[in-house]
Symmetry: C2
Subunit: 336 residues, 2 copies
């Protein structure tokens, strides 16, 4: 499988790391040859039709900061779109930074790949939250596959779980803790009885919350995932603006203590059902699968036959997210 990867940040580097450690095993187990023929970042690209070395890609990026410095095969200043025109490939991995305003450049990349009759795997929430149906329709009409497990909850593989493992069930609704940063903050507030502001600051110092934490704490990241789950699992046709969103910045230690006294915890929960599309702080029972601490993500699928089924996993992490991309690649390969 000849692969073009656009984007070489945390997720892209995770993919390179995973390719480096697992390539031989995947070849032996599935007969799938993971061959990276081009990788881009903002500096340009590394392109080699015979295959790039993932370790050398990582070394180049770490030492020189640019994939276009890749020995012999570096191409400065070339764009992702140009690379897609110039190389022979089977599958696009789109891992450029998420842009929640217009989904670009990922949207253009993905649609171009479909028109070139190529399969696409992405972790990019932007285009999925803004124009899901357009992308899904284009994939279908071009007869190619579109997989995006990594876009929701990193290593909590909820999409393929719903589609494959629960194939016999109808999914009536989904409830989830879809953002690790807010779960971390709320867990620590509940344990320590400390204020939101103080825990947020410490989370920023630890690198768990970003310097500008708005996307996480105001529920925007979780709302994007709600949109992806609604469209992908529940067959809806909704976008980011359809989600009612309330974040966690108004939660006080007093409200958490009050909930705790009655056996409850406060979590930022996303809900997808016929009647509701929202992200908001909610009470969850101690002893329920939602009472998980730390940066974990969790999603419960309410089904017609199997009742509630829940998946818990790490919501983020470079290699963890890359593992979801690898599973998508294997799934595409197995279906050929």
């Amino acid at each position: 499988m000849k692969i073009v990867m656009l984007g070489f940040g945390a997720v892209g580097q995770g993919v390179a790391r995973v390719f480096s450690t697992k390539r031989d095993k995947i070849k032996a187990k599935y007969g799938l040859n993971l061959n990276l023929v081009a990788v881009t970042d903002t500096s340009g690209a590394a392109v080699c039709q015979e295959g790039l070395d993932p370790d050398l890609l990582l070394e180049t990026k770490i030492k020189k900061g640019k994939v276009s410095e890749y020995p012999e095969h570096g191409v400065p200043s070339v764009s992702g779109v140009d690379v897609m025109d110039d190389v022979d490939y089977d599958c696009l991995i789109e891992v450029t930074p998420t842009n929640i305003d217009d989904g670009e450049p990922a949207k253009t990349h993905i649609l171009k790949a479909f028109n070139q009759k190529k399969d696409v795997v992405t972790s990019n929430k932007g285009p999925l939250a803004l124009c899901f149906r357009e992308l899904a329709d284009s994939a279908e009409s071009n007869g190619v596959q579109f997989k995006f497990e990594a876009s929701v909850g990193g290593a909590m593989p909820i999409l393929n779980f719903a589609h494959e493992t629960l194939a016999g069930c109808d999914i009536n609704s989904v409830l989830g803790i879809l953002n690790g940063t807010t779960n971390y903050i709320l867990s620590r507030m509940a344990k320590e009885g400390t204020s939101y502001e103080k825990i947020l600051q410490e989370s920023q110092e630890l690198g768990i919350a970003e310097t500008n934490p708005t996307q996480d704490v105001e529920g925007i990241d979780a709302a994007c995932k709600v949109v992806i789950l609604a469209n992908s699992i529940m067959g809806m046709d909704v976008s980011y603006d359809d989600v009612e969103v309330r974040g966690i910045s108004g939660i006080t230690p007093e409200s958490i203590a009050l909930a705790k006294k009655d056996g409850y915890l406060i979590k930022l929960v996303g809900e997808i059902s016929e009647d509701s599309l929202e992200v908001s702080p909610r009470l969850v029972c101690k002893g329920s699968p939602f009472a998980v601490d730390g940066t974990l993500n969790v999603a419960t699928l309410k089904t017609d036959l199997a009742d509630d089924v829940t998946v818990v996993g790490k919501g983020a992490g470079s290699v963890e997210t890359a593992s979801a991309i690898l599973s998508d690649l294997i799934s595409i390969w197995k279906s050929k």
Copy 2:
């Protein structure tokens, strides 16, 4: 798909119920025609090459107690083995009662189906815990499929999850609460501070624990599931005798209270790793995915790339278990 189902107890009747409610949807969604051509119980069989009516099967069983009383197509005193010789079928659903001594009659049924080049779906822990490798090898050498999601944790679909959804990951170990009855008893002991004996008695009155609770409370049921997970997910070749088993009958309210004081709960946990194959009461952290109450089952897969991934679901229930059988049938159908 022409289906023979051997056994018409709780699980078999759940399958009939699921076929009745979902047959049209499954046909429309996957093109799969679920056609029950024969169903047996201890009384004999109902056989109709054009297809039995699941509702009439259930009605006959409930009113007359015997599927062999099925109007026009009832066949008294015929055995499962004879039925398999006499009818034209594609797939066997084996749901006779679990027998942990020699795995019969399920073992004979399953091996016969393989030799007839038929796929098999089962919920039957007996043969899987006693002679897994023999069965898996026979399926492979006959070029047929062997699926048994329903044998571990009913509606907690851990096997297909590990094989399909986490295709890119190596699974290094599995930890699980694999028995709902013991989880229910321990959860109530922790909440109420009451003795094991009292809660067990109440659980029996509620129908959650059986009159003879040995299989559950002594860890035998969980140990069977440990064997199935070890062989299926970890590629081991072990059987029931290889598992170290300790149940929950020795747990006191005092030990639970002591654990609670330090932020822990006591759960009956099955562990599968290279070094350990055991079922025993263990301390688990509050706030971890293992701190689930009631009859829920949970299993955590420790992976090389995605770190810990956990699935939580109902461990039992007639329709819930049947949903796992249905997912297996769809998976077989999709791979054709």
